[in-house]
């Protein structure tokens, strides 16, 4: 049963005995108190190991199938073979393809100290001429070169594909939850960020607040939507559909502490294998952002994957912004009073 059906089942059904207007109002007002206390469960989340993602998009399909999400349509973006483009109100999972082949299309970042790929880049001419100065991984293998895992991840020195299954980060301190003025966005008993779609009124403040560009307002119903971390499946003790479908275990689901331990071991394993650029993104809090309950193992800069280099929770500014606003307003009122006093005198 999908989340939508669970929510609808909680509403008054036509088969139920008739309820008058007053009864309906009383029912609505007392429902939150009658609902009872929900016992907190161990925090759960996703750990996504991008090094084993093969870009099959089965997670996208499984998500759409389980949550009964319509297709968004396919589109060529002009920058990769990915044709499902981005997370949206109807696509709660999106596998990003990062194709690092073009000589000058290769992303670069300013911060040289951060982990970065070291592959030699395949030029456009290489692609057209099928060789030249740039041999692909298989060429290297045929030539008898021993390739390390790092070289393989970096395309064997001839450019590479990076793939990452993107989803809501289920931030421990989520800007969207802070922003939501209706109380539609909550943390559920699994500490996942969940949008109660029967409450959301589509103000879009969550869309503006999310530093990861996850939440989207639907043009169809006008409400905001995103990954529920398969709340309905979790309640029934099931693994979220995407994690269940992932054929390479790139997407792993479980209690968050267990996932962190698993991820750290994997990073150590990769480092030992020579993939020195591997690191975890969002497994712990930073000075400007909380930990993420959906964190990633990456091998290049976050911005290469379309993630903010150092996410910032906009709410850290709020009190000082209010302070500036009130100071400015009071100062202006003081000027007005002074001018009025001068005019009267």
């Amino acid at each position: 049963m999908g989340t939508r059906e669970l929510e609808l089942a909680g509403l008054h059904q036509t088969s139920d005995p008739p309820v008058g207007l007053l009864g309906d109002i009383v029912n609505r007002l007392t429902w939150p108190f009658r609902y009872g206390h929900v016992e907190p469960q161990p925090s759960t989340g996703f750990y996504t190991d991008t090094t084993v993602c093969i870009g099959c998009k089965s997670c996208e399909v499984a998500c759409k199938q389980w949550n009964q999400l319509a297709a968004d349509g396919l589109e060529w973006t002009g920058n990769s073979y990915d044709n499902t483009v981005e997370l949206s109100a109807m696509s709660w999972r999106h596998v990003k393809f990062i194709e690092q082949f073009a000589g000058n299309g290769r992303p670069t970042v300013d911060d040289a100290s951060a982990p970065a790929a070291t592959s030699r880049e395949l030029t456009f001419d290489d692609l057209l001429n099928g060789g030249g100065s740039g041999r692909c991984a298989s060429d290297s293998a045929r030539a008898g070169h021993e390739l390390t895992l790092d070289q393989l991840l970096n395309g064997g020195g001839a450019g590479r594909w990076l793939m990452m299954s993107d989803v809501c980060k289920h931030c421990v301190s989520a800007p969207c939850q802070h922003a939501c003025p209706t109380g539609a966005i909550i943390y559920n008993e699994f500490a996942n960020v969940y949008i109660q779609r029967d409450i959301c009124n589509g103000c879009s403040y969550c869309v503006a607040s999310c530093p990861f560009g996850v939440i989207t307002r639907s043009d169809f119903d006008g409400h905001s939507h995103k990954c529920t971390l398969c709340y309905d499946r979790q309640k029934d003790g099931l693994v979220p559909a995407c994690a269940k479908a992932c054929p390479t275990h790139s997407i792993q689901f479980g209690p968050i502490e267990e996932l962190r331990d698993r991820a750290r071991k994997r990073v150590a394993e990769l480092h030992a294998s020579g993939v020195t650029g591997a690191y975890l993104y969002g497994d712990g809090p930073t000075e400007t952002y909380s930990a993420l309950h959906s964190f990633y193992l990456l091998v290049d800069h976050p911005s290469v994957y379309g993630l903010p280099e150092s996410p910032f929770n906009p709410w850290l500014h709020m009190l000082r912004d209010y302070g500036r606003t009130f100071a400015s307003a009071l100062l202006t009122v003081a000027v007005i009073v002074a001018l009025l006093w001068l005019q009267e005198v």
Binding site: N79, S80, N104, G105, G202, V333
Partner: protein, 319 residues
């Protein structure tokens, strides 16, 4: 973007794209920002004027409250229309969340609307002779409502800027002084509207006083505007050319500040007439219109930043 210089790139992946998604806040929101500031600014200025200088601004202030009320209704209509599901507008009042500027703003606007409605209702009842003119009790109730209304009006003017500055959107998120700008601008807009009302109600002394105040406030508003510009200039430089930035800046400063100040100083008290309107009055009206137009222009330009940044990023990823 690589070390080899620009030539035949296949794509830059996600590096050049904005990570954030742009909320569907377009033209309606620019008008909402304007009408919010027109209403709260007019009310606050009128209230401060009535309480601090009742002899000078009392009569004009009484005319201002119904105008502030109409602008508030317009603003609320715009706010509701902009929702994805307008019929659920009342869900905003399910919870009070001080951590959300939008929640704080919704409650401020609600609390602001109640005493303002009472003030306007009292004035309307007096105008219709349903309540006695000059009754001390009625006057005290009205004045109490004005005083009570000041705090939520202050909240209503304050939340807008903070709402935008506590976003993750390019440009908006860097504008630490946006709230200060909005508050200052609202009071400048309020003074300009009160000037127009003073001219319309033939309160010559109030109009003369307000000309100076409008000029001072409009010039003062350049300070927070400058702060905001400095804070977002890096984002602007990434999106727009220098020529575009300076053209917009010159337009905003000339339209919203220099031209109105010139008109207020040049036309103030000019007795000669063009038809039924004196040149001085005409200058005042044009100055007020320019202040409002400048206010709308700066709000529209500011709102467009994430949209323009997003488009620029998409273009960049395809180069």
């Amino acid at each position: 973007m690589g070390a080899n210089g620009p030539s035949k790139a296949i794509g830059t992946g996600y590096l050049s794209q904005d990570v954030t998604k742009v909320p569907g806040w377009h033209g309606l929101v620019a008008w909402d920002l304007l009408f919010n500031n027109l209403s709260t600014g007019l009310f606050l200025f009128a209230a401060v004027g009535e309480l601090a200088a009742p002899g000078l601004l009392g009569p004009v202030a009484r005319a201002a409250y119904p105008v502030a009320f109409v602008f508030l209704l317009t603003d609320l209509l715009l706010l509701v229309s902009d929702l994805g599901d307008p019929l659920r507008f009342h869900h905003m009042l399910r919870v009070f969340k001080p951590s959300s500027p939008m929640s704080l703003g919704t409650w401020s606007l609600t609390l602001y609307s109640l005493p303002l409605t009472l003030i306007v209702a009292v004035e309307a009842a007096q105008w219709l002779n349903l309540l006695p003119h000059g009754s001390m009790v009625v006057e005290r109730v009205r004045k109490l409502a004005v005083v009570v209304c000041v705090v939520p009006a202050f909240g209503s003017v304050a939340y807008k800027g903070v709402l935008f500055s506590t976003c993750s959107q390019p440009g908006w998120k860097d504008a630490r002084w946006l709230g200060g700008f909005m508050a200052n601008s609202a009071l400048a807009l309020g003074s300009a509207q009160l000037l127009a009302l003073a001219v319309l109600t033939r309160e010559a002394r109030a109009a003369a006083a307000l000309q100076t105040i409008v000029a001072v406030l409009v010039v003062l508003n350049l300070i927070p505007t400058g702060f905001v510009f400095l804070e977002i200039r890096e984002t602007l430089a990434r999106i727009y050319s220098d020529q575009q930035i300076y053209s917009a800046l010159v337009f905003v400063v000339v339209t919203g500040t220099l031209a109105p100040v010139f008109l207020l100083l040049a036309g103030g008290g000019e007795p000669s007439r063009i038809g039924p309107v004196s040149v001085g009055d005409l200058c005042n009206f044009v100055a007020v219109a320019l202040v409002v137009a400048g206010g709308l222009a700066v709000r529209s330009l500011f709102l467009k930043i994430p949209h323009a940044s997003h488009e620029k990023g998409l273009l960049g990823s395809k180069t």
